[in-house]
């Protein structure tokens, strides 16, 4: 076991974890942040995606000790922490029903956020490629693409996050 310090959603968190614990395990089991979902636990589905220093990273394939001294964003940290207002991407997914069972949703949204932050004006092909590592067993690919393109519009027009 080791004491590690992780910076999660802007806050420093101290946690005891096995040296070979994955970031996903620490988030879910030790810290109760179950918004990061586990679907395959072998790096093949993207459901466990979190943003580390703004980049999508598979938390089930990352040692928790390797995630120290980096900015980690989980789905719980995406909405405004004070007002609770949803991020435009979350809003698009809500308005257009971009999910069915919802397990892939946090990973999709975070991957989309990292992508749209760098590519504010994407084509449909761009979106499909950016999210190609996120599996949706409920088959919602068309709808999710629609939500991300809608979110891009919202973010471009500077639409304020609204609940």
């Amino acid at each position: 076991m080791s004491e590690i310090v992780l910076k999660i959603n802007g806050a420093q968190v101290e946690v005891k974890a096995a040296t070979t614990a994955t970031l996903a395990e620490v988030l879910r089991e030790e810290l109760g942040l179950t918004g990061t979902k586990m679907m395959c636990n072998e790096g093949e589905c993207g459901a466990c995606t979190v943003l580390i220093n703004g980049e999508p990273i598979l938390s089930c394939m990352t040692l928790a000790i390797d995630a120290q001294n980096k900015d980690i964003l989980t789905i719980e940290g995406l909405a405004d922490p004070v007002t609770g207002r949803l991020h435009p991407i979350q809003k698009a997914f809500v308005e257009r029903s971009g999910m069915q069972c919802g397990v892939c949703t946090p990973g999709m949204i975070l991957t989309a956020k990292a992508f749209l932050d760098e590519n504010p004006d994407p084509t449909e092909e761009d979106v499909r490629h950016a999210l190609s590592g996120n599996l949706c067993r409920c088959g919602n690919y068309r709808r999710i693409t629609e939500c991300v393109l809608d979110a891009a519009e919202k973010m471009k027009t500077g639409e304020k996050d609204e609940k």
Binding site: T19, T20, E42, E55, P56, M61, I65, S132, G133
Partner: protein, 289 residues
């Protein structure tokens, strides 16, 4: 089960010295993805893990006209795929890097990780082989530069052994009128390991191919050069019949197996076809330069 001891190396020297101290009991980890897969499958893990992720001076992409390209072993695959320099001059390498895994995997995987894991299907290997790459290896006795062809020893095995570290890959500068292509056969349009991978690199003369290099992935115990297939084309004017012969030769040089991703027969069929196509695309790129 006693969990492994985790040590952190902050420099190449420290990494090498730790490795020689622990020898067989230790393993390097950069992205740690392979190690994590071992752990998750309940396979035996080393007693000691030496983390390399903090060694900043192995993460670089450098180029000069004489020395050519140098890429540090801890450079992430996404950096290679997006590097304007590599996309400009060594595009086959960027192309292959862009096909490796999924976008999130590319953020984490490293060039060193891909090569040292030494899967026969490693995507960066065939392109580097046709680019004439060399590996800089560091051990207790110092540095050594070896051709990449000598780097792979068997499936999952490199010449690094238990006491050396891969520090960087060196690629000579490209010649004028050269071009390349990497073709990867997968089981779906989304991410996959290569069922068959073919890289081709050509240098065009006025009428003939001055030089040609072909490398194959996932069809032998290691990534290999298809030298017979090269020989058929080198110095010759390329026509469909010659391409056909070269493709067949490549299929013959490989030793694919039946496994869950494909049968040996299918892989040979693909080799013949993809070799032709890779050469054709390489020539198109070379003619564009």
């Amino acid at each position: 089960m006693t969990p492994p001891k985790v040590l952190t190396a902050r420099s190449v020297e420290e990494a090498v010295s730790l490795l020689s101290e622990y020898g067989e009991k230790a393993k390097f980890v950069s992205g740690a993805t392979d190690l994590l897969m071992q752990l998750k499958r309940g396979e035996a893990v080393p007693e000691c893990l030496i983390r390399l992720g903090e060694i900043r001076d192995l993460d670089f992409i450098k180029y000069d006209e004489t020395g050519g390209l140098r890429v540090g072993a801890l450079t992430t695959i996404v950096e290679i795929a997006n590097s304007p320099l590599i996309r400009g001059k060594f595009s086959i390498l960027a192309q292959a890097a862009g096909m490796l895994g999924t976008p999130a995997v590319r953020n984490q995987a490293t060039l060193g990780g891909n090569l040292c894991n030494a899967a026969p299907s490693a995507d960066t290997a065939p392109p580097l082989l046709v680019l004439g790459a060399k590996a800089k290896i560091v051990g207790k006795e110092g540095e050594k530069i070896v051709p990449l062809e000598d780097f792979f020893v068997g499936p999952g095995q490199t010449i690094l052994g238990q006491d050396r570290l891969l520090a960087e890959i060196q690629v000579p500068n490209i010649l004028a009128h050269s071009g390349g292509a990497y073709l990867k056969q997968k089981r779906r349009q989304g991410a996959d390991l290569a069922v068959v991978g073919v890289a081709a690199w050509v240098v065009m003369g006025r009428k003939v191919l001055n030089d040609v290099k072909i490398a194959l992935g996932a069809v032998a115990p290691t990534p290999i050069r298809a030298k017979k297939a090269e020989g058929i084309l080198r110095g010759r004017k390329v026509d469909p019949e010659l391409l056909e012969k070269s493709g067949q030769a490549a299929a013959g040089e490989a030793s694919p197996i039946d496994d869950i991703r494909g049968s040996a027969d299918y892989r040979r069929e693909l080799l013949a076809v993809l070799t032709k196509r890779a050469i054709t695309e390489a020539i198109q790129q070379a003619e564009g330069r």
